[in-house]
């Protein structure tokens, strides 16, 4: 056996070597050819008329009815598609967009006058019928539209085209902020598939989708027949890099004009532009469990947090005392951030202990990695303050989905007393999108409420105009003085990097809506 085997081997050895060499050569060729195909997929050298933007992630889709999702909305909203109304983030006022005016016809019905001369990117005219179709598609379809859950929740809306220029929208319950809600419903033509998500939508916006090479880039081109002012750049090219320091380096290296979602340590240097966002960081206090069910402990937690220290040394922002930022209906300018007073915190804990409150019970501080820059360090600063006040605190850092189990009802069984690291951004501009779900007894993100606060929220939700502002501001004050269900920390600052050739002023809405038309060449 062995002998014949070795004979075979000798005879076939040179052939085997030839074969191996051949295989190697073909592998080389294959790798080489395919390398060219990857390199060639991304055209080199966009002209000077193209604005280059680097995002932290690729948009999952550009579906207009998911425009309340940050990753989708910042590309789609006001660039590709538009809504009937739009909110000015600096004044908080609602401005006309695809509707020129609107009026409340009765408690449960509104009439909108549609802008004339507007066309979709496919050339078809924008009419009241398209508006009615878009509202129905976003609020009553099988695609789990994010806008539906975020803006309308379980309220029912019926839109009807009276004629080409008039749209009537009815709601089951009186809704004083319906026009604001509709600023989130992007208009699409009736040819859009009502039963599934579209990746590349047709809209009325100043830019249309030109090419989306998945995983690599997305290019938009200026829409020649846009109804409004022509934007300066003929095209915009989006790319995405997960690493913040690489995004910043792309702008300093001249590979991109705008990079968003940066942290102070990403090294954007003098290209960095800071702006106040609508995000507010806070700790939710689970007031149903001892010792957190005692208001003195909840106040002590607020006094024990060094907010100035956090915004100076850990993340960037401005200390804040309420969950909404200036410009949102319901913002209460009289609520100040809680002062840092470790002595007062200690006293309050000692008083509670003397009254038999079990202050030695371990409180779990549940954090979420990456919720904002240096999230874990922030929780260590908070823990340190609480330990010094005389409380027993352990930190548990989780990933998003595990953390969501604690954020949303129903909460995990036997979780014990918890403090939850959270952040809230009211991008809609009305406290109704904050109060009910976060402070209402039955709210999706609420672990505690009081009947008095519920009544105050209910009253504010039905009010309009100045009454509404006043009622929500009072509800915030009530929560801050009498309920103390959370420890609000800071109104967070965002950072983007901007090429010196570009002029752009970011505002509190920039994270959710980045208008290409607002970006211009520096003179």
């Amino acid at each position: 056996m062995t002998g014949s085997g070795s004979v075979t081997t000798r005879a076939s050895a040179p052939r085997a070597r030839q074969r191996a060499a051949g295989a190697l050569l073909s592998a080389l060729t294959l790798v080489g050819v395919s390398a060219c195909s990857v390199a060639g997929a991304d055209p080199i050298g966009e002209g000077p008329g193209t604005l280059r933007i680097v995002l932290p992630e690729e948009p999952p889709t550009l579906e207009p009815c998911d425009a309340s999702l940050t990753a989708t909305g910042r590309v789609t909203r006001a660039n590709i598609t538009e809504a009937l109304t739009e909110r000015d983030p600096s004044t908080g006022r609602l401005e006309p967009a695809l509707a020129v005016k609107w009026a409340r016809a009765s408690a449960t019905s509104w009439t909108f006058t549609i802008r004339e001369g507007v066309t979709f990117h496919d050339g078809s005219p924008f009419t009241a019928a398209a508006a009615a179709f878009s509202i129905k598609r976003a609020t009553d379809s099988a695609i789990d539209c994010n806008v539906d859950g975020y803006i309308f929740s379980d309220s029912e809306v019926t839109a009807t085209a009276v004629d080409d220029a008039t749209l009537e929208v009815r709601t089951a319950e009186p809704d004083p902020i319906l026009p604001l809600r509709l600023s989130f419903v992007e208009m699409v033509p009736t040819s859009t598939d009502p039963g599934s998500r579209v990746r590349e939508p047709i809209g009325t916006g100043p830019y249309r989708v030109d090419e989306w090479s998945q995983g690599r880039f997305l290019r938009l081109k200026r829409y020649a027949d846009y109804w409004g002012e022509t934007p300066e750049f003929a095209a915009a090219k989006y790319v995405w890099r997960a690493e913040g320091s690489v995004r910043a380096a792309m702008v300093t290296n001249g590979e991109a004009d705008v990079a968003i979602g940066l942290a102070p340590e990403d090294g954007a240097g003098d290209r960095a532009v800071e702006f106040t966002t609508n995000e507010v960081s806070y700790l939710r206090i689970d007031a149903t469990e001892a010792p957190l069910d005692d208001i003195r402990i909840r106040r002590a937690i607020n006094y024990a947090i060094d907010r100035e220290g956090l915004v100076t040394a850990v993340f960037s922002g401005r200390p804040s005392g309420q969950l909404v930022s200036k410009g949102v209906t319901g913002y209460n300018p009289r609520i100040r951030p809680w002062p840092y007073d470790p002595e007062r915190a200690k006293e309050l804990v000692a008083q509670a202990r003397a009254d038999g409150v079990p202050t030695g019970t371990t409180i779990t501080l549940i954090g979420r990695n990456g919720i904002y820059p240096k999230a874990a360090e922030a929780m260590e600063v908070v823990q340190d303050g609480l330990l010094k006040a005389g409380l027993k605190v352990e930190i548990k850092m989780l990933d998003v989905n595990a953390w969501l189990e604690y954020l949303l009802r129903p909460f995990p069984n036997g979780k014990g007393p918890t403090l939850l690291q959270a952040q809230h951004g009211n991008q809609a501009g009305d406290a109704a999108f904050t109060m009910g779900q976060i402070y209402g007894s039955e709210g999706a993100q609420s672990s505690y409420g009081t009947p008095a606060l519920d009544a105050a929220i209910e009253k504010a939700q039905l009010a309009s105009d100045d009454q509404r502002q006043k009622a929500f501001a009072e509800a915030f004050a009530q929560q801050n003085d009498e309920v103390v269900r959370d420890a609000v920390m800071a109104n967070m600052t965002g950072i983007l990097a901007l090429s010196p050739d570009i002029r752009y002023r970011p505002d509190s809405a920039t994270n959710d809506e980045m208008r290409l038309a607002d970006m211009r060449r520096a003179d």
């Binding site: 789990d144 994010n146 690489v246 290296n253």
Partner: protein, 308 residues
């Protein structure tokens, strides 16, 4: 040879099944994706509808049965995140990783053979010491540090290379260099070790005594015999690369399978995760067979053992 391949194929099917089962059930232990995909204010009815639409309301075993039936029809389901077919997403991302891994392994093996052989030719010489020092450094450099420093030095400071992306040939330099450094370091050491023992073997003395040239002695006789351990280690390293060069793909924005897998775990995008893992497992399976074939071509004893 065919007997060996058949045995190898049969023994690889079991790990493949374990991987598919494990990924399916472990992914579902990590929580309900409805929380991630629905707005925070979604009502319980919306959550129930979401679960029903995606089949998450069914018992796990029946979900698995549906999945297996789908895969048998080459349907990998739809991505929760992008609403696109999951199989397409995996197949689109995989070539980018494969090309990166292909170039990296090719350059690492070629470089390691030359430098490792030079080092082994005169053990303890200056060349050997420098090669050993550099290769052990290379094998221990953390790749994320190397990548970020590469961007800082070669893109930002010197401006020679782009920071990231897939745009043009220069964009390949930093990702390949980052991926290359560790396998290169490891392989130089393996080649050196194997060559040192091969060069001191009796057949080398015989070859030299017959008057064979040094080139023929080193590359024709010693290297051929030293190739088997190098191939084994290189195969392992290649499997690691094909598994997804997550750090490189994340930092350089390379649209590969590693980033896709990590993102789908974080996003609880089960269909894409399953498709990506299955595609990768199949390629690793093929790669292992390829390594076995190469072994058999290099070493007749492997073929004989298999045939016996």
């Amino acid at each position: 040879m065919f007997i060996m391949l058949r045995r190898r194929a049969v023994s690889s099917v079991i790990p493949l099944l374990v991987v598919v089962l494990g990924v399916f059930f472990l992914a579902r232990l990590t929580g309900d994706p409805a929380n991630l995909y629905l707005p925070l204010s979604a009502t319980p009815e919306m959550r129930a509808e979401f679960a029903a639409r995606n089949g998450f309301d069914q018992p796990l075993v029946s979900q698995f049965g549906d999945y297996v039936a789908q895969v048998a029809r080459l349907d990998f389901g739809e991505s929760l995140r992008t609403a696109q077919p999951a199989g397409e997403a995996a197949l689109r991302a995989f070539p980018a990783t494969l090309q990166l891994a292909g170039w990296t392994m090719l350059l690492a093996i070629m470089g390691a053979v030359v430098i490792g052989s030079l080092a082994a030719y005169r053990p303890n010489s200056a060349t050997d010491r420098i090669a050993s020092f550099l290769s052990s450094t290379a094998a221990s450099v953390p790749d994320f540090w190397f990548a970020i420093m590469g961007v800082l030095v070669f893109a930002v400071t010197l401006g020679w290379l782009p920071t990231s992306g897939t745009n043009g040939a220069t964009a390949w330099v930093l990702p390949v260099a980052t991926l290359l450094i560790r396998p290169f370091g490891v392989l130089v050491q393996v080649v050196r070790g194997a060559m040192v023992s091969a060069l001191s073997a009796p057949y080398v003395k015989v070859a030299r005594s017959k008057g064979a040239s040094e080139g023929r002695v080193v590359f024709g006789h010693a290297l051929r015999n030293a190739a088997a351990p190098v191939l084994t280690v290189a195969g392992d390293l290649a499997v690691g690369l094909v598994n997804g060069a997550v750090v490189v793909e994340t930092i350089f924005g390379w649209p590969g399978i590693g980033k896709l897998m990590i993102d789908s775990v974080l996003q609880r995008d089960f269909a894409v995760l399953q498709a990506a893992v299955l595609v990768t497992a199949l390629v690793i399976f093929a790669l292992n067979i390829l390594v076995d074939i190469c072994h058999a071509l290099l070493d007749p004893r492997v073929r004989l053992r298999a045939a016996a």
